[in-house]
């Protein structure tokens, strides 16, 4: 048997194509050369470079240990045998570990920032892969796990995204995972000659960050309640501010801490959206549901939490008035200037892409005016006169920073007084009524089913046809999925496990990446019922 303890260092670098992994690999190769190592670096190009998953691999061996004999390098990393993983993106680290490249002999240095993949972006709901899974696999398949948010560091230091590379190199140097001196890393960056100055600065940022042992970023530090309220109150006009603070102190008195922020945010949103009366109606509703929570044996407030969030969102549905208000809020332009990194010596214009359809426009008008017209358009006579199948839309691109564009939005915001009499209001509130009643009915059958229904309204979103489709999907979800299943179990005196399981499954389908999720969900419910009935 041959001895296989050796000085060979195997480094695996997973990345997203386009992150500049080739340069990072070259820096490492040169740094090893500078310290008298035999090295082989391998970069993989091809289609994978277009934003796909990609990997780089490096092997190094000190010349002093080989006694002038030639090393037979391998071109492939072997699962379970990698010494160091330097990951340029967090999900790619997960992929590398899932393929077995990490083990109890591996040190991981990773950036925790995420570049979302197309498949994560496409679902109607959230398709983002959970960070905690990645942390879990990273700590189980490594001996040492060093994480930094290199992208955040680069932004904090006013550098561009590509600095992530050099920041990681600095982190690798500071962590001491490789037997190379700091000077060799710096010299290699100079030698490779790709944006040397910026890279060395970024290297130092990464080095300092790890060597000063700053703890890994805590997940969003809990928002401080006071500043949370102040931030919102400051945005309101004087008289509304008083009203708001009064309501906030009632919330403080009546509700547990986990609901306070949700309610304070909701009341603020509705005050801004309409008026105090509207916000009070909301609070009445939430109080009624919270009583159910208090009475239930579970002791939590899960039902109220879902209900409070979704009711506030439904009640502040995005109509033309709302959009106009958001488009000319003064902090919008401040935000744009920051996001676009604009300097004061630059002049800028903001042009908005708007394309309301007919319903979004006439929806703003009073119900008594619009309703007869809409009824007429649904008659056969109208369809003969107007055979158009596609809805009528009105595309425009106003320059919101110009006087005319701004005034158009401003005039729209003045229509707020008509909102509660509008056609759209009636339509939205019909759905809200259905939501309220459904939650109360199903929670009376079973607490968990009630929570599921309360949660499900978050599927209602979007504008124009997307909103109509999601409103429709919500109604169908209640009527054709939850209702028949719950009735069936009620009649069999079961404990609603099927309703819960199929309901959750249906929600996943609906928030998936295709628009026909509700069709699939209904079909699934039907099949289950037929199966059970048989």
């Amino acid at each position: 048997m041959m001895q296989n303890k050796s000085d060979l260092i195997k480094i695996f670098i997973p990345a997203v194509g386009g992150q500049g992994g080739g340069v990072l690999t070259e820096w490492l190769v040169q740094a090893f050369f500078l310290e008298e190592y035999d090295v082989q670096g391998i970069s993989l190009p091809g289609l994978s470079q277009r934003g796909g998953s990609t990997v780089y691999y490096l092997e190094a061996h000190p010349k002093s240990a080989s006694g002038n004999r030639q090393i037979i390098f391998a071109q492939f990393p072997v699962p379970g045998e990698v010494d160091v993983i330097i990951s340029q993106e967090f999900l790619e680290l997960g992929r590398a570990l899932q393929l077995g490249y990490g083990s109890d002999k591996t040190t991981i240095v990773t950036s925790t920032h995420r570049v979302f993949s197309t498949l994560e972006k496409m679902p109607v709901g959230s398709g983002i892969y959970a960070d905690e899974n990645l942390r879990k696999i990273a700590s189980s398949f490594s001996s040492r796990f060093i994480e930094i948010d290199a992208l955040k560091l680069s932004r904090e230091n006013g550098m561009d995204e590509l600095a992530v590379n050099a920041i990681l190199l600095g982190a690798v140097s500071a962590s001491g995972v490789l037997p190379l001196r700091r000077e060799s890393f710096v010299e290699s960056v100079e030698k490779v000659g790709v944006s040397v100055k910026a890279s060395i600065r970024a290297f130092e940022v990464g080095y300092e960050h790890v060597s000063s042992r700053k703890s890994p970023d805590q997940k969003k530090s809990a928002l401080v309640w006071d500043s949370f309220i102040r931030e919102r109150a400051d945005k309101l006009e004087d008289y509304a501010r008083e009203e708001y603070l009064g309501r906030v102190s009632r919330i403080e008195a009546e509700f547990p801490s986990n609901l306070r922020e949700i309610l304070a945010e909701s009341v603020f949103r509705l005050l801004e959206y309409q008026d105090t009366g509207y916000a009070d109606e909301y609070m009445e509703e939430v109080r009624a549901v919270y009583e159910i929570d208090e009475r239930s044996k579970s002791g939590g407030s899960r039902l109220t939490e879902h209900y409070a969030k979704n009711l506030a969102l439904l009640m502040s549905y995005e109509d033309g008035i709302r959009v106009a208000e958001l488009k000319i809020k003064s902090d919008r332009f401040k935000r744009i200037k920051e996001e676009m990194r604009l300097r004061d010596d630059q002049v800028f214009k903001v042009i908005d892409y708007l394309k309301p359809d007919a319903e979004e426009l006439y929806g703003l008008l009073p119900y008594f005016l619009v309703a007869p017209m809409v009824r007429f358009t649904e008659t056969g006579l109208f369809k003969k006169i107007w055979p158009r199948k596609k809805p009528l839309t009105f595309g425009q691109t106003p320059t919101t920073t110009s006087f005319s564009g701004y005034t158009m939005f401003w005039l729209l915001t003045r229509m707020k007084f008509m909102r509660r009499h509008s056609f759209r209001y009636r339509k939205e509130h019909a759905l809200i009524k259905k939501y309220k009643e459904s939650v109360k009915y199903y929670v009376s059958l079973d607490y968990r089913v009630g929570c599921l229904v309360a949660k499900s309204a978050s599927m209602v979103k979007g504008y124009g046809k997307v909103r109509r489709r999601t409103m429709n999907a919500f109604a169908r979800f209640i009527d054709n999925v939850i209702f028949p299943l719950a009735e069936f179990e009620k009649s069999k005196r079961k404990n609603y496990d099927i309703t819960l399981e199929i309901g959750e499954e249906a929600l996943k389908l609906i928030s998936g990446e295709t628009v026909d999720g509700i069709d699939k969900a209904e079909k699934m419910a039907r099949e289950i019922l037929e199966q059970r009935a048989a």
């Binding site: 050796s6 060979l8 690999t25 070259e26 190769v29 670096g41 970069s43 993989l44 190009p45 289609l47 277009r50 934003g51 796909g52 061996h61 090393i71 037979i72 391998a74 072997v78 699962p79 379970g80 999900l91 899932q98 393929l99 077995g100 570049v115 197309t118 498949l119 972006k121 496409m122 679902p123 109607v124 959230s126 983002i128 189980s140 995204e161 000659g193 003064s330 332009f333 676009m340 604009l342 630059q346 002049v347 214009k349 903001v350 042009i351 908005d352 892409y353 394309k355 309301p356 691109t397 006087f403 701004y406 401003w410 978050s458 979007g462 124009g464 046809k465 997307v466 999601t470 990446e513």
Partner: protein, 709 residues
């Protein structure tokens, strides 16, 4: 990226100097050390780097030495270039990716029939792991049927270069063209190598030929074809075998366990050695308990050499990557003919498919070692070691209940090809799905999320032709995509001419972006210059008209409404071939070039207007419809600004190049009012500044809330 001046200067290094670089640079250096006269090739992975380095070195190095570089139109043209070596003592080398061999094969058959006088080398990018758009196939069967020698080097930069030189000599000695396999990983090594002096080419653009030979015997026409056939098997192959033996091109490594042996080839040697090292059977320096024969020449095999290795052994394992396992079958036949009576193992215990990585072969190699007499203790150890990786992989793969989300490649930020697929996707809502015949290029990615617009990929330049029968026999519209590079590669003849000739009812969308982008931005006939940087203008539209296409429209891809209208017209036409040319330069190349000019202009105080797109996070409700029509890397997700919404909202990153597609989509697909465009003026004129001031005070009057724009 390109090769820097410093890197290229190393090409002039002499004996004993140390070159640092990647595999393509090392190979080019080996060409110069071999006194090569001409080079050519068609770019593709993993040999694209070779074309890069040749084209970068053309002006500063090659041209001065009189070396010709042919920017070959396709692989067939590249292969045909080798004709120069049939009658004249000049060395030449061409290269392409594995599937290019199919295109080149007509020329290869003819040249290898005639035989060569000067060394002729064909570097084929062997890509059995399929890291690019290709199918899993090997080059070896081509070489066998056309009688070419095959060199397959170990994974070591210096060895790679040495084998290039040996390849030219082998070709000259045996009069056969030689295939040289460059596998994906070996093509991307970064390391050092020791150089030798360069040789001047005997014949070059400077030292031209005066007389040309007319030698009918070299032409593959009867009756000489039959002589060629005889020469192949009676002269050339025996000569090659002699050369391989004399020059010891294959490597024999001794080992203590003389009753066993392993035969392998090329880079698989490196994987095998790492596998044996992990099993505790070998050192890092290539010392191994079991004797090893590594074939750097995989065709022809030399029976004497094989028999010498097999003789007196009880069991031998053949570690050969890929199917068909022609080497294993030949070795078995050699052993049988020599009546050696030993056990030969190969694909019966090793995996049949897949790249031979150290872990992929571990179990099979372990099984082989166990077959021979060993102590129980050793047996236990080998079994445990060889199964360790497998178990470790399984544990890692099953650790997460929800597997990590896949990440497929996507069209770059601002890509001019994406909008066409967006338009087709939006039109699907009205017209339904069509049959989408895709082709080879960046646009092959249209088959991936979020577009999912690909029913077939059949090979290069033949997407449209592949739908020939279906356009008559299916109640579906046929739409085919083709890039400008692919059009000039073979699309004009194989697809367009064929469609006109057959009056095919189909729509062909030519994505003219002026570069062969997928391989790393190579010039193509649409670029306006060739890879030697000489201006050439070739016009796709004129070529189409010349071929008899009547319905041709050109669109600006960023004008989504126009593209949709033109597409709609083509959909409605439903007769004959309709060609839409979508013309927009590859954004990567354009940005790379313009960024420098832009920076300079801003610095010089010129008034510059730039565009960027954004999303209002409080207007976005997070239904992500925009993502399902787009897939732009800079259009991504972030947390919603309100704690009431659990799902993330859309967000545009600073990497946005302002192509405006996402805004156009919001319009064309009637999505939402969340998108906005910002026009940023650097060095604003007096007029701009006064205008902005007046505007500001007017707005302040209306809003009364301290407008701070």
């Amino acid at each position: 990226m390109g090769y820097s001046k410093e890197l290229l200067e190393q090409l002039n290094y002499g004996e004993g100097e140390t070159l640092y670089g990647d595999t393509p640079l090392a190979i080019l250096k080996a060409f110069l050390q071999s006194g090569v006269s001409y080079l050519g090739g068609y770019p593709g992975s993993p040999t694209a780097g070779l074309i890069d380095v040749i084209s970068d070195a053309y002006e500063p190095v090659l041209k001065k030495k009189g070396i010709y570089f042919d920017c070959s139109g396709n692989e067939a043209s590249a292969a045909a270039l080798l004709s120069a070596s049939i009658s004249y003592p000049m060395r030449g080398c061409v290269n392409w990716k594995i599937v290019g061999t199919n295109v080149a094969s007509d020329a290869l058959s003819h040249i290898s029939s005639s035989g060569v006088t000067g060394g002729a080398l064909i570097i084929v990018g062997e890509d059995y792991g399929c890291d690019s758009t290709c199918v899993a196939e090997r080059a070896l069967p081509f070489a066998l049927k056309s009688t070419m020698a095959v060199i397959d080097p170990r994974g070591d930069l210096e060895h790679v270069a040495k084998m290039v030189e040996a390849g030219f000599e082998l070709s000259e000695y045996s009069n056969m063209p030689v295939m040289y396999l460059l596998s994906t990983r070996v093509a991307h090594i970064m390391n050092k190598m020791t150089c030798r002096d360069n040789k001047e080419p005997k014949i070059s653009m400077i030292n031209r030929l005066d007389d040309l030979i007319t030698d009918l015997e070299k032409i593959p026409l009867p009756p000489f074809t039959f002589d060629h056939e005889k020469k192949k098997y009676h002269e050339r192959i025996p000569a090659a075998k002699r050369f391989i033996l004399e020059r010891k091109l294959n490597e024999f490594f001794e080992g203590a366990e003389s009753s066993m042996g392993i035969i392998t080839h090329g880079m698989i040697y490196n994987s095998l050695m790492r596998c044996l090292y992990n099993l505790g059977e070998a050192s890092l320096y290539g010392e191994c308990r079991v004797p090893i024969l590594n074939l750097n020449v995989t065709n022809p095999l030399v029976p004497e050499e094989i028999i010498l290795f097999l003789r007196d052994k009880k069991a031998v394992l053949i570690v050969e990557e890929g199917m068909p396992n022609l080497m294993e079958e030949q070795i078995r036949a050699i052993a049988q003919r020599a009546k050696l009576g030993l056990d030969i193992f190969g694909k019966d215990i090793l995996p049949q498919a897949g790249e031979y990585t150290p872990d992929h072969i571990a179990k099979g190699v372990g099984q082989f070692l166990l077959k021979n007499t060993l102590s129980d203790y050793e047996k236990e150890r080998i079994k445990e070691r060889s199964e360790f990786t497998e178990k470790h992989k399984e544990r890692a793969a099953n650790f997460l209940k929800q597997p990590v989300t896949k990440r497929n490649p996507v069209f770059c930020t601002g890509c001019p090809e994406r909008p066409i697929f967006t338009a087709i996707k939006i039109l699907e809502e009205d017209y339904g799905r069509s049959y989408y015949a895709s082709d080879i290029g960046c646009y092959s990615m249209s088959g991936l999320p979020p577009f999912d617009l690909s029913n077939s990929i059949t090979g290069m330049g033949i997407g449209l032709a592949s739908a020939g029968a279906l356009s008559r026999m299916a109640n579906k519209r046929v739409i085919s995509f083709m890039g400008d590079g692919t059009f000039w590669h073979s699309g004009l003849t194989s697809s367009v001419a064929n469609a006109v000739y057959n009056n095919q009812n189909a729509i062909l969308i030519i994505l003219e972006n002026f570069w062969t982008s997928m391989t790393g931005h190579h010039e193509n006939p649409a670029s306006g210059k060739n890879m030697r940087q000489e201006g050439v203008g070739m016009d796709i539209e004129k070529a189409l008209r010349g071929a008899g296409v009547r319905w041709i429209k050109t669109v600006d891809p960023y004008d989504l409404r126009e593209s949709m209208e033109v597409l709609g017209e083509a959909y409605e036409e439903d007769e004959g071939l309709r060609v839409i040319i979508s013309r927009g330069e590859c954004q990567l190349e354009k940005t790379r070039r313009e960024k420098i000019v832009l920076k300079k202009n801003i610095k010089d105080g010129r008034r510059i207007v730039q565009k960027k797109l954004g999303v209002d996070p409080d207007v976005c409700t997070g239904d992500h419809s925009c993502m399902r029509f787009n897939g732009c890397p800079s259009l991504t997700l972030k947390d919603s600004p309100t704690i009431l919404r659990d799902d993330p909202v859309a967000h545009i990153e600073h990497s946005c190049v302002g192509c405006g597609l996402c805004g156009e989509i919001a319009h064309a697909a009637v999505l939402c009012p969340s998108f906005y465009r910002v026009e940023i003026i650097d060095n604003p004129s007096l007029f701009d500044r006064i205008g902005a001031k007046i505007n500001r005070s007017l707005l302040h009057m209306v809003s009364r809330n301290g407008w701070s724009g």
